[in-house]
């Protein structure tokens, strides 16, 4: 089998992983080495695939052979599919050649479980070591830690990679038991805990010794599959919040479940992936990380799912109308962040601009405030947008109208002359 065919099989098997970020790395250029990591906080996208997702890393599996039989996965043992295996040399050559041509920012290495988690991880370590030591690659590497791997191997992996991730995949233990019988909650959380405490230790050592080894300097992330099990948004958000609070994760990714297999326990194959729900979860995730919201403020037991019609911040604002309007010349940063249409950047710009002079409502658009949403919730120097009238009922209609163009449109129906009416 030639490299082109291997690449095709192992890319196809890896594409369902949502994470493809290259942010948080801080490798600077070194003499005798190739590469650095992007100095921008946001990482660097090298292309966007036909599904609109960022292509930043060479995202492949080392092998798609797997001893596990997770029901939702294309690579499960019982699936009839072509299997392939990259040798460490092939993968290192691909990475370096792609990197030199500026196709990619680095390597995202995942793998099916071949023989055992330990054996697979050892193969991954061999590949990464070849890349780092022989090819002197100084770009970004994201490696997957496989649940159930020995701590010593996770340690070695972390010293070679920039970011490590352990995928939780199913948001509840019941889901795991039903769909991924080979994995347990404990086996997933153990390496997460280890990565967290080890990178904390590494940071402390770096303060004392400049050349102390860096353990996963870009932190760790995970992925949750949305829509394969019956878990509510509230459950998912609370889990996310716990992961950020307790495990200091950099990111939690959500992946709308795409039915790849017919199984009694899974949604049927003709169910469309819940893309809008995934989008709303990402919006709520941002609110948790950058806007000072708590999961309990956004949702509760009575309202366990996010309203798909408007974004979660609008939804919160609509149920807390007493909090508004906010006066932009006096409100503090955290209150500004609660206004729909005001983001982290525009809130900072407001703080900076109002030190020079009083802000007027006309200035806000230039500061980056999205007025079609924010107008209902703001005043500037005591004045709202001239001519704006609304009641709590028309407010929702106004926000829905502002939202509509960005929502997926219902598919057009082809009219046929020959269909019988009715």
């Amino acid at each position: 089998m030639d490299v082109l065919e291997k690449l095709t099989i192992l890319t196809d098997a890896a594409k369902y992983d949502a994470a493809c970020t290259s942010s948080g790395g801080d490798r600077t250029s070194r003499k005798g080495y190739i590469g650095n990591t992007s100095s921008s906080v946001a990482g660097c996208c090298h292309s966007f695939s036909a599904d609109g997702r960022c292509v930043s890393l060479l995202k492949v599996l080392l092998t798609n052979r797997c001893v596990y039989d997770c029901k939702y996965c294309v690579n499960r043992r019982s699936n009839e599919t072509k299997r392939a295996f990259f040798t460490p040399e092939e993968l290192a050559d691909l990475t370096i050649s792609f990197y030199r041509r500026n196709y990619i920012e680095g390597l995202f290495l995942s793998s099916g479980v071949y023989r055992s988690p330990d054996y697979t991880t050892e193969l991954m370590i061999r590949t990464l070591r070849l890349l780092r030591e022989t090819y002197r690659f100084n770009g970004y590497i994201h490696a997957k830690a496989i649940p159930g791997t020995a701590p010593e191997l996770v340690e070695q992996l972390g010293l070679l990679a920039d970011r490590i991730s352990v995928n939780i995949e199913l948001p509840s233990e019941a889901g795991l038991r039903a769909l991924a019988p080979d994995k347990t909650k404990g086996a997933i959380l153990a390496p997460m805990r280890q990565i967290q405490s080890r990178s904390l230790q590494s940071k402390e050592e770096l303060v004392k010794y400049r050349h102390a080894p860096r353990f996963a300097p870009a932190g760790q992330s995970t992925q949750l599959i949305v829509g394969a099990t019956a878990d509510s948004d509230f459950h998912i958000l609370r889990l996310t919040q716990g992961l950020y609070d307790r495990y200091h994760l950099k990111r939690v990714f959500y992946s709308a479940y795409i039915p790849v297999v017919e199984h009694a326990l899974l949604p049927s194959r003709d169910v469309a992936p819940p893309l809008l729900r995934e989008h709303r979860l990402y919006q709520a995730d941002w609110l948790l990380r950058f806007y000072g919201f708590r999961a309990e403020e956004l949702l509760d037991e009575e309202h366990p799912d996010i309203d798909p019609r408007v974004d979660p911040k609008c939804s919160w604002a609509l149920s807390h109308l007493g909090f508004f309007p906010i006066e932009v010349n006096t409100a503090d940063y955290m209150s500004l962040l609660r206004v729909p249409g005001v983001g982290v950047t525009s809130a900072r710009r407001i703080l900076s601009a109002r030190r020079v002079g009083r802000l007027q409502i006309e200035d806000l658009r230039k500061l980056g405030v999205v007025m079609k949403r924010a107008q209902y919730f703001l005043t500037a120097s005591g004045r709202a947008v001239p001519g704006l009238r609304f009641s709590p009922e028309s407010l929702l209609a106004g926000l829905l109208a502002a939202e509509r163009p960005s929502l997926p449109q219902p598919p057009m129906e082809q009219l046929s002359l020959f269909d019988s009416p009715g």
């Binding site: 690449l7 992007s38 695939s49 599904d51 292509v55 792609f98 030199r100 795409i258 002079g357």
Partner: protein
């Protein structure tokens, strides 16, 4: 105070000299244009001669008032803003008159057009850090871009750090200039025309591998052409490997000739410092 049109040589120093002259002669400018773009009008015209010491005096004064303001001038000069010279001139006049505090207020009417144009420049440079595609031509990496703004000075440090031990060049089709880097030294020089050499065996193979990877990584069930165009506008596609026609993936035997394929005759190969040319922005001061 009389109203004037100034013409200058198109360099950043030349532009700073326009500001210097307008103060020296107590003249208010209604337009500043490059010598070659100038069309005769009824207004009085002054052709400004570039004097590095005058330019330095203006620049140092701006830096002293606000280093951020100086950064805006430098970057603003690289943008594709129409009448960028006049906008930057007005910004400088206001900075000298009122002091730097207005630079904190993005909604200020003098600042807003400049900061928006600089944002566009920064955004384009950030995207191109990812979208630039190099081809290996006889050990040298070469790439082409077609940006709206003059992004090469902003891309220089990024690519020089990334490909530290390589030699590469990057050609800007829009502004007809190229960034050359070899042995730790980078220069930006005007380059009238450039034609990329066809790929050799190995290059064609890697292009094909990349194209296959790109096509495979997309999930069919999530097909979203609008999302892709939003993140990656189609004007960038023309220079990206994955959107090239079949020709780009076919190896062709290199024609016998120059030592470095891809570098056209008469153009100095990367590493050989060309003779004096128009100074490139970013290398000034």
């Amino acid at each position: 105070m009389s109203e004037m049109i100034y013409t200058y040589d198109g360099s950043f120093e030349g532009f700073l000299c326009c500001i210097f002259e307008s103060y020296a002669n107590k003249e208010v400018l209604t337009a500043i244009c490059r010598d070659e773009d100038f069309l005769p009008t009824l207004f009085a015209v002054r052709a400004v001669q570039t004097d590095r010491s005058h330019a330095g005096r203006v620049y140092r004064k701006v830096v002293k008032l606000s280093p951020y303001g100086a950064k805006l001038l430098q970057k603003g000069f690289l943008t594709c803003l129409t009448d960028k010279e006049l906008c930057l001139y007005r910004l400088t006049v206001k900075l000298l008159r009122d002091g730097p505090s207005f630079l904190r207020d993005r909604s200020d009417e003098t600042l807003y057009p400049v900061i928006k144009a600089v944002g566009h420049l920064d955004g384009e440079a950030h995207l191109l850090k990812g979208f630039v595609r190099f081809s290996e031509l006889g050990g040298v990496l070469g790439g082409e871009i077609e940006p709206k703004n003059r992004v090469l000075p902003l891309l220089r440090s990024h690519f020089c750090a990334r490909y530290r031990d390589e030699s590469f060049f990057l050609y800007d089709r829009t502004h007809r200039e190229a960034l050359f880097y070899t042995a730790g030294k980078a220069v930006i020089r005007p380059l009238e025309s450039f034609q990329m050499a066809p790929p050799d065996e190995a290059e064609a193979r890697y292009r094909l591998l990349w194209k296959r990877f790109y096509d495979t990584i997309a999930i069919q069930e999530r097909y979203d052409p609008k999302g892709r165009r939003t993140h990656m506008p189609m004007r960038y596609w023309s220079t990206m490997t994955e959107f090239q026609g079949e020709e780009a993936f076919k190896a062709q035997s290199p024609s016998a000739g120059g030592p470095v394929p891809g570098v056209p005759g008469g153009i100095p190969a990367p590493g050989i410092r060309p003779g004096s040319g128009r100074s490139a922005p970013g290398s000034v001061l």
